[in-house]
Each structure stands twice: as structure tokens, then as C-alpha cells.
Symmetry: C2
Subunit: 418 residues, 2 copies
């Protein structure tokens, strides 16, 4: 059987499973999630044995310690997955909800009903717990999934898939609601992302290069999460204390996250009021500062920012700083260099705040708060499958609702159109 | 200059124009629309002269009369375009509206703001009035457009573009908010649909083969409108009078529209109650009937439906009819053969109606009303740029809102994330 044929089989099974799952009510889906959580809890021995095979193979292949660390399914990771599944049970089911039902002049009643997307292909890298996180979010929103994890985690992923399938079977749902690609052949990824006959959307989770490659080659629509080159702009009408707190939090809360600030823009009139304190605080935390020439003129300890610094998502204790002369200049800089993920302004001036919110074209635009809030949990989505930097369908944190679509529903009483 | 370079130039200009247009307020956009309507009215002489060139060339190339007819810009068509622009002025502007603004437990205030998609590529066939219809819908929703019409309408399209650009200029908006591809080289279509650096979405308007070709080759996301193989199902609990009215209206109101019924499904228990009257009424209107064997057993004048009849969008006075034994069988038939555009059920039973609405996976699902209602005007969208048979982003009639996306907006007061 070729890789293409294998994908066609997976795809056909997923389409049939998705139809059954779309009809399942909330109670059945929650019962399945509960059974999956139990099954993971009861399978910790098998999960660790399977994971040992992956860890052993990884060591032999000379995987870096950081990657081996991400690969490990220890008690904490397993407990975290179980807890994650239980949290999804508590979330409201988006499927079947009807928005805006209203009577129109013709007499018909019109609304929009949420329905699952159908079949979702998830492509991810080494962390095996994504197998559970992604599958249960898709399951709750009524979608069948085809999961393709990293080849280095294949035994762990297949063992996790068994737990999921045991849970599905227990409540009478098709095991094929969640399928893991069994081959580690790389061509299977190509077959999955071009199977537009069966797959409705691809969600890649991983580094930028993986996502760019998939987007370029996929014929199935892709919900992309590229990089987060996020900005904070301290306006001339900023409150200096709020500016300090927000700029510190946005950079130093965690360095390796996509909503961390990577470039700080400061209005020239605010440099003296906020930068001495910020520079000191950053340097105490070990953050390397790279500034424009005006920033360097203010403080000679700051390194020179090169053109590529403005484009870089450091994901590290490094910060680029630029002095600007207006909100317009800040908006222009963001338009040129941002990855359109998240930008924040600190200002007490409502007109400037409104202008920034309206003109900055990013998936989250924030006034007087840290970029760290751009996150599915903080936005009340309960959990997120990723953060979309796309424009179509869904932008920013993608929760259960982002995994659904809407159809129009019309109720008449024998109405005909003139 | 190669076609690819020409597209890159158009694309860059469109991106810049789109940024300016996204900032334009409703008043400015409406003033531009008003100036465009005036410009069209004042240019009827130039428009007819340009159109004469296309008609002459079309005649020389031996275009069919129906195509020449669609190509013609006469007084009626021009008045229709002007009226269309004035209707768009009256529609509410979706840009900048904020949905669901609320305080979250962390203290931040969160909502979603509607913003334009950016740059929209429209590819259409012979009717030159699409140049105006599409451009003004995109303009009102804050999007820049690159329009690529049929080569047989090139002079008309360029003359219409001049009217649009005169209107834009009059209110100080960039003329490049609306650009028409000047070359009739077919390679320009390929360059447009693969220019993902500048173009955010492609909307093709035309026949199924055009749309399939574009979808297959595009790397820019496409909002597709494929065929409308629509069904009406007369349930065993149907009111016979409503069933008759709806089945007649859905088929015979207009034959050539995508929301016309192409297959009628009738519950076996209702055949005697509704089919004699329906068959008579269809035959009086000259509708050719093609049925399953049970339908033929009921009335020998009905022709035999072949397998391909169930798949066909006739767009003609032909109707396929099938007898089914349950709502489940109707739902199954629809799942197998429908193009997922619009399906209707006629029933007085609420449980059956709910089941049909929930289980039929089409962009519009209708209870006790004609499929003819599946239309942007009937749904209160004011105008539509097409009907999406896609699942992502927008399904069914696409109005101004479908040409926008949402970004998250967050308001804090110095909030940092713990």
C-alpha cells in the first residue's frame, strides 16, 4: 500500500467517523472525554513503557537533552494530560448553538448554527501530550482528527491513541474519530496535507520552518501559527508606572512564548521618564538590550540594533528598543516589522488609544495591559489549539469555537419566495 | 515587464491602498460610493463607446448571442449599476464594530473588532457590471481589490474602472483601491492567484470549471462558490399544501439560479397525497421529470433517473424525484449527492425538523420554506458577492461581513499577567 493509499483509507474512515461524531450530543462527547481521562490514568504503565522505547531510540540517535526532555511522558506530564481532558469536559459545547435567530420582513426566521468543521489534520513535533490535547479539543467540537506527530514520539503517540480509542469505544463512538498516522515515512505528511477530498483543515503545531513548509505544500486550508514578533509602544501620554510594569511583564514573564514582547517602542518625550528605570530592571534580569542610535545616545551600555533585530522573534532574554516621535511612527514600524500577532500601547490619551486599536492590524491589539494576555486561557476560551496569525476564518487564540463553522438555518411555515 | 512583475506592482499598490482604506471612516467611504455612482451616470456615453468595442470584437470572434447579451452595457444595465452602488451606501459599515466586549476575571476588558480582509482578488467572466458590484462591496468593507474580468469585456471593464477611480480621487482615497488587470494575457490570472505576498483572498465568480481550476492552482485562499445541487424533502408528516407550494416555488421560480431545487425527495407515505398534483403542475410548466423506479411505478409518464441525475445541477426545467422511506434515508441521499449549498424539509413534526436541521451539512438548511430564500438579499445582507460552498471563514451568502475578519481588542489599566 502506498502512502497515498494509506492516507485515502485514513481519510475515508475519518469522514465517516466525523459524520457520526457531528450528530453526537454533548453528554456523549463528555462521557467519551471522561472515559479517555480514565483510560490514560489506568494506562500509565503502558504509556511509560512505550515512551521508554522512544526515549531509548532518541538517545541512540543522539537527540539533544532539551528534545529528550520534551519527549518524556513522566507522572507529571500524564497527570497534566488527564487534568487537561477534565478541563475540556467543563467547557460549553459550541456545536448546535444558534446565533441571532430573528424574523425577517419576508416572514422567515433566520439564524446561524455552529457545526463542526469536519476532519482536522494535526501535524506536530516532539511533545507527545499534543496527541491528547489536540484530539480532545477536536472531539469536544465534534471533529474527527488525523494526527501526525514527530517520528521520534511514534510509540508514545500510538499508545496515547489507544487510550483515546478505548474511551471512544466505551461510549459507542467510532474509534476512527481519532486516528494516528502509523508510519513515520515523511511522505505521509505530504499525503495528509494534499488530501482535500477528505480533510477540511490542517493545523500544524511546531516551529516556523515546519509551518511554512506545510503552508507552501498544502492544498487543504491551513490554520497557521507563525511567529510572534510582538511590540509594546510607550506613548508620550503614557503613565510611567503602568509603562514600566507592562514593559517588564511583556518581556520577562516568560521569554520563550509567542506573546512575549520582542521590540519596545518608546516615544521620545517619555525616554527620560521611563527608560532609566526599565534599563536597570532589564539588566538586573539579564536581558540584553539592543537599541537604535537615539536609544544608544541615551544610554551607552545599549548595543546596536541591526535591521534584522526589528524582524526577529528572539524567544530569549534579548530586547530591541527604538525611539519614535509619534504614535504614527510606532504604527508604521509595527506595520513594517510585526508578525501581526500581538501589539500593545501604553497611553492615557483615549484618542491615541483608539487610533492605535483601529490602525494596528494584528490578531490582538492591547491598550494598557501586557502582551502576555494574548492567550486562550486568559481570553476565556478554556484551552487553545494554537494562535492563528492568519486573517481568514479565525485570528488569534483558537479555542473550541475556532474549530467550528456556521451554517444558516431558516424556519418558515410554508413560505415561498415571490 | 513579465506578467509576474506586473502582478507584483499591482499587489504592492493594492497593499498600500488597502492600508489607507482600512483607516477611512464610513462617511468617506460612502462619499466615494456616491461619487462613483455619479461618475457612472455622467459617463454613460464613454461606457457605451468602450462597450461597443467589446461587442464588435465579440461579434467578429463569433461569440454566442447569449454571451453578447451578457456583455452589453445598455441604459438598463448602467442604471442598475448606479442603483446597486446607492444601495450599498445605505448598508451599515461592518468595519470597526466590536462584538462581545466584556470584563474578564483578570480585570481586562476583551472584545472582537471587525476589520477588512485586506486585498481581494476578484476573477469573473463576461458580465462587465461585476466590475462595479464587486468593487463597491469590497470598498464599503474597507478592502482594496484587483479585478480580473473576461478578456472579451476588457474595454468595458477599464472604462468602468475609470469611473470608480474618478470617484475615489474625488474624496481623496487612493485610485489604487480598485485596480483592473490591464492585460488579457491568461497568465495574469495565474500570477494573481499565486501572489500570496500581496493578496489575502481570491473570490472567483463564474462557472464551475473556472472555479475548480482557480481553486486547484491558487496558493492564495479562495472563497469558492461551486454548484448548487439543492434538495427539498417532503416528510411523511408534511402539510400537503405547504409541500406543493414549496416544491413548485423551489423548482419553477427561476430555473437558472443556484438555489433552485434539482432533486425532490418524497417520503413513500406522502406520494399519493402530494405527487399527483405536483406532477400535473410541473408538467403544465414544461418541467421534465426523471424518477426512481418507485416514482415511475406511481406515474408511468416519468422518465428514468440515471445515477448521474442525482449529482446534476440542471439549471434547467428538469427535476429528479426519488421516493425514500425515512428522514434518515433523505439525509443519507443528501449527504451523498448534495453540493452542500441549500436543502429544505417540509414537515409538521418538530423532532424530524430538528433532526434534519442538525444532520444536514449544507450552507443553508431550511424548514417549511423554499430553497429560493437562500440569497444575500433575502437574508438581509443587502447584497452578496457570492454564495460560499466552503466550510472555513464564511458559508452561504457572502455579504459585507464575509469580506471582513475580526481581531481581538483588549483594554486594561496597567494590567500585567501573573
Amino acid at each position: 500500500m502506498t502512502v497515498k493509499q494509506m492516507q485515502a483509507t485514513l481519510g475515508q474512515q475519518a469522514v465517516i467517523a466525523a459524520k457520526g461524531l457531528a450528530k453526537a450530543n454533548t453528554q456523549t462527547k463528555n462521557a467519551a472525554l471522561s472515559a479517555i481521562a480514565e483510560s490514560i490514568e489506568n494506562s500509565s504503565e503502558e504509556l511509560r513503557l512505550a515512551n521508554q522505547k522512544d526515549l531509548q531510540a532518541g538517545k541512540e540517535r543522539g537527540l539533544e537533552p532539551a528534545l529528550l526532555d520534551r519527549l518524556e511522558l513522566n507522572d507529571n506530564v500524564i497527570a497534566g494530560m488527564v487534568e487537561g481532558v477534565r478541563q475540556i469536559i467543563a467547557l460549553p459545547d459550541p456545536v448546535g448553538s444558534v446565533d441571532g435567530l430573528k424574523y425577517l420582513p419576508s416572514g422567515i426566521q433566520l439564524g446561524k448554527m455552529r457545526v463542526p468543521l469536519g476532519v482536522i489534520g494535526i501535524i506536530y513535533e516532539s511533545r507527545p501530550n499534543v496527541t491528547i490535547d489536540a484530539a480532545v479539543l477536536c472531539l469536544k467540537s465534534g471533529n474527527a482528527t488525523i494526527l501526525r506527530g514527530g517520528s521520534e514520539a511514534i510509540h508514545s503517540n500510538l499508545a496515547l491513541a489507544k487510550c483515546i480509542q478505548a474511551g471512544l469505544q466505551k461510549v459507542g463512538l467510532s474509534e476512527q474519530c481519532v486516528q494516528v498516522v502509523e508510519t513515520t515515512d515523511r511522505a505521509a505528511v505530504g499525503a495528509l496535507i494534499t488530501d482535500d477530498q477528505h480533510v477540511d483543515v490542517i493545523i500544524p503545531r511546531g516551529g516556523k520552518s515546519l509551518i511554512e513548509r506545510i503552508s507552501a505544500e498544502a492544498t487543504v486550508p491551513v490554520i497557521k501559527h507563525l511567529d510572534g514578533n510582538c511590540h509594546v509602544y510607550i506613548d508620550k501620554a503614557a503613565d510611567a508606572q503602568k509603562a514600566h510594569a507592562i514593559a517588564m511583564n511583556a518581556k520577562t514573564r516568560r521569554y520563550g512564548v509567542c506573546n512575549a514582547m520582542e521590540t519596545l517602542l518608546v516615544h521620545a518625550d517619555m525616554v527620560d521618564a521611563v527608560m532609566p528605570g526599565l534599563i536597570k530592571a532589564y539588566q538586573e534580569k539579564g536581558v540584553e538590550l539592543r537599541g537604535c542610535s537615539r536609544m544608544q545616545a541615551h544610554d551607552a551600555s545599549i548595543k546596536t540594533a541591526q535591521e534584522e533585530d526589528w524582524e526577529t522573534e528572539y524567544l530569549a532574554p534579548i530586547l530591541a528598543i527604538k525611539v519614535v516621535d509619534s504614535c504614527d511612527e510606532a504604527v508604521e514600524h509595527i506595520a513594517q516589522y510585526s508578525s501581526d500577532h500581538t501589539e500593545a500601547i501604553v497611553t492615557q490619551d483615549v484618542t491615541t488609544a483608539d487610533k492605535f486599536v483601529r490602525e494596528v492590524d494584528s490578531s490582538s491589539v492591547i491598550v494598557n495591559a501586557s502582551t502576555g494576555f494574548a492567550d486562550g486561557f486568559e481570553y476565556g476560551l478554556g484551552a487553545e489549539i494554537g494562535i492563528s496569525t492568519d486573517r481568514l476564518h479565525v485570528r488569534g487564540p483558537v479555542g473550541l469555537e475556532g474549530l467550528t463553522t456556521q451554517k444558516w438555518v431558516v424556519y418558515g411555515d410554508g413560505h415561498i419566495r415571490p
